[in-house]
Symmetry: C2
Subunit: 364 residues, 2 copies
């Protein structure tokens, strides 16, 4: 039931059918180098596959030096292992008998880590009887999942030690809310606070005689702040490879690099109903609007002002012609990629590859 690709290899960009998810290979590769050159001698990199959903991307990240991939879902992790990734951290809690069985089966095929924030869930993991790396997720300001840092986390670590098949692998400490704080200064403050929670918990673990092998976390909006804070051993950025319109609205300054837009939705003007208004064939089923409308690439005179399911409103003059193709920068890359079955990989104006998005729709 996957959709056919909107172009063949060798097709000119302007002839790709629309809407299509376009990956600018040169910008993507520059983003890869920017990240790995900056951090590879300081922390491990475990990019998040929740963003790209594609083993081909994960393998290229591993080739650059990544230690493996992160996933949020067991079904995503299955797609990564099926695609050749041998080390996957499910940076999330996995609750439910069926999911746990699948996680156990996967742990026989690859090195699998998973997070816990609850003793009951830990017991269910222990009773699977398979070897798993267990990370304790601590709450460091996101107010989502995670056990309170400090004593509660140490107590949970003690419980992990009571299961022979489980290894306490360290802490998951991700400040998701910080990623899109616009001001660098405020983002910095959020990560400093998160770092204090991590340090406090590490100190108590050390006092309890429990080694904490690793602290993992961080995203594209903050990772250098975690690196400089000095208490994270591994980072989990995902969006850096693509960059979306929402991330572009952040303030970017040292120590964070500014990544390039490498991901686009190609659309076609399908109607010219009035002066200054063009309608494109890419609406909210082609570019997710949860973090705002897409922006127009290199067409500053135009603005994407409104989306319905299959249509987008492009306002501005001179208005593009009927049939003209426009590149959109998605508002939010993760849920946009999740709408497509293929990356149409473009270089020098031609389709050079088609990468299947095998974890598209992997919600289980």
């Amino acid at each position: 039931m996957s959709q056919p690709a909107p172009a063949a290899i060798g097709t000119r960009l302007e002839e790709v059918d629309t809407p299509a998810l376009i990956l600018d290979l040169v910008a993507f590769e520059r983003n890869q180098r920017t990240l790995f050159d900056l951090v590879k001698n300081r922390v491990r990199v475990r990019p998040h596959a929740k963003t790209h959903k594609c083993p081909e991307v994960a393998k290229r990240q591993v080739a650059m030096g990544a230690v493996g991939a992160c996933c949020q879902k067991v079904s995503e992790a299955e797609a990564m292992v099926d695609g050749g990734i041998t080390d996957v951290l499910v940076s999330n809690e996995i609750v439910g008998a069926r999911k746990l069985e699948r996680l156990a089966a996967l742990s026989r095929r690859a090195k699998i880590g998973v997070c816990v924030d609850n003793p009951e869930n830990l017991k269910a993991l222990g009773h699977l009887g398979v070897n798993l790396d267990i990370y304790i997720e601590i709450e460091v300001g996101m107010r989502r999942c995670g056990i309170a840092p400090g004593e509660p986390a140490v107590d949970l670590a003690r419980q992990i030690l009571s299961f022979k098949n489980l290894r306490f692998a360290g802490l998951q400490a991700y400040q998701g809310r910080a990623q899109h704080i616009r001001s660098m200064e405020e983002r910095h403050r959020a990560i400093e606070l998160a770092a204090q929670h991590v340090q406090h918990t590490k100190r108590l673990l050390a006092e309890a005689g429990i080694p904490c092998p690793r602290v993992t976390g961080a995203g594209s909006g903050t990772f250098m702040l975690e690196v400089e804070a000095g208490v994270w051993d591994e980072i989990q950025p995902g969006s850096y490879a693509f960059m979306d319109a929402d991330y572009a609205r952040n303030e970017w300054a040292a120590p964070l690099p500014r990544f390039e837009h490498a991901l686009f939705v190609l659309s076609t003007v399908m109607s010219r109903p009035s002066a200054g208004l063009a309608i494109v064939d890419a609406g909210l089923k082609a570019s997710s609007v949860d973090s705002g409308m897409p922006t127009l690439w290199q067409r500053n005179e135009l603005k994407y002002t409104h989306a319905s399911d299959e249509h987008g409103w492009i306002e501005g003059t001179p208005s593009p012609a009927l049939g003209e193709k426009l590149l959109l920068v998605p508002g939010h890359c993760d849920p946009t990629i999740n709408l497509y079955d293929w990356y149409v990989v473009v270089k020098d104006g031609f389709v050079v590859d088609l990468w299947p998005i095998t974890a598209r729709g992997a919600v289980l």
Copy 2:
């Protein structure tokens, strides 16, 4: 690359893996009867497949008396024809050589209609050399696609007549903005205005000696207003079969029936980080948030307050237990269905069928 179904036939609802798209078969069938009983002797019904994306649903609509299906995309229409639907109206403009070739190929396999609002696009359709029903889309208040009603539409109709292989099939007149106007009175006014544009255009067509075989349009939020206005021959509702949280916020009163919620996202509580807060495993990749957050089904004490990609925040007390399963009513059914490969069809608490969503991701 389609995802495996989250349950087998015979599974109890509580044991379906999550997130899963659940269709309550009894409520769905009641919604079907409600619609068809109301209108079948007054207008033709051509339900919109952009909502359901599933030939199995379309076939059940045809069995109730629908004349066929509507689609917004050529690839959607292909999925419907592949699934056994023989009469499809693409209620949208189709622009671009590759799409037109596919439309032409499809017209050899089924009765196909398509909309135009532009002479240049009409020429491209004419030059395909295949038989097509052509509807002129007129702008009736939505300010999206569509040619101006009145003389411009009549002029375009004259141009259709100059192509031997094209048949002028009538007018597409859809007031999309009216569907979610909350007040019945204001919705009524919007449809009255749309009806005036239709009547004016029909009168000018008659004066020009051009028969207008059919006027088609209308959605779930207004269709009885179009029926009572007396100038539409065919209606195109889609959401009526499912009902979502956004439609539920409309004022519903005669002549419109109130449909039941038949579509749900089943989710699992995966974390209980603090008093009064539970985190479920269904975020914005499991239930589209473009029209607001999902609501909780039959759990009035709880509120889904925030979504990130893979997580949902459930606030309220008493807070549900870790592992508890909750039914969510999606904010917007169309883009939510488009995230899934399967309807998990449930009756009397058990999975009774699995319907593949073959047009999921059909954006071309």
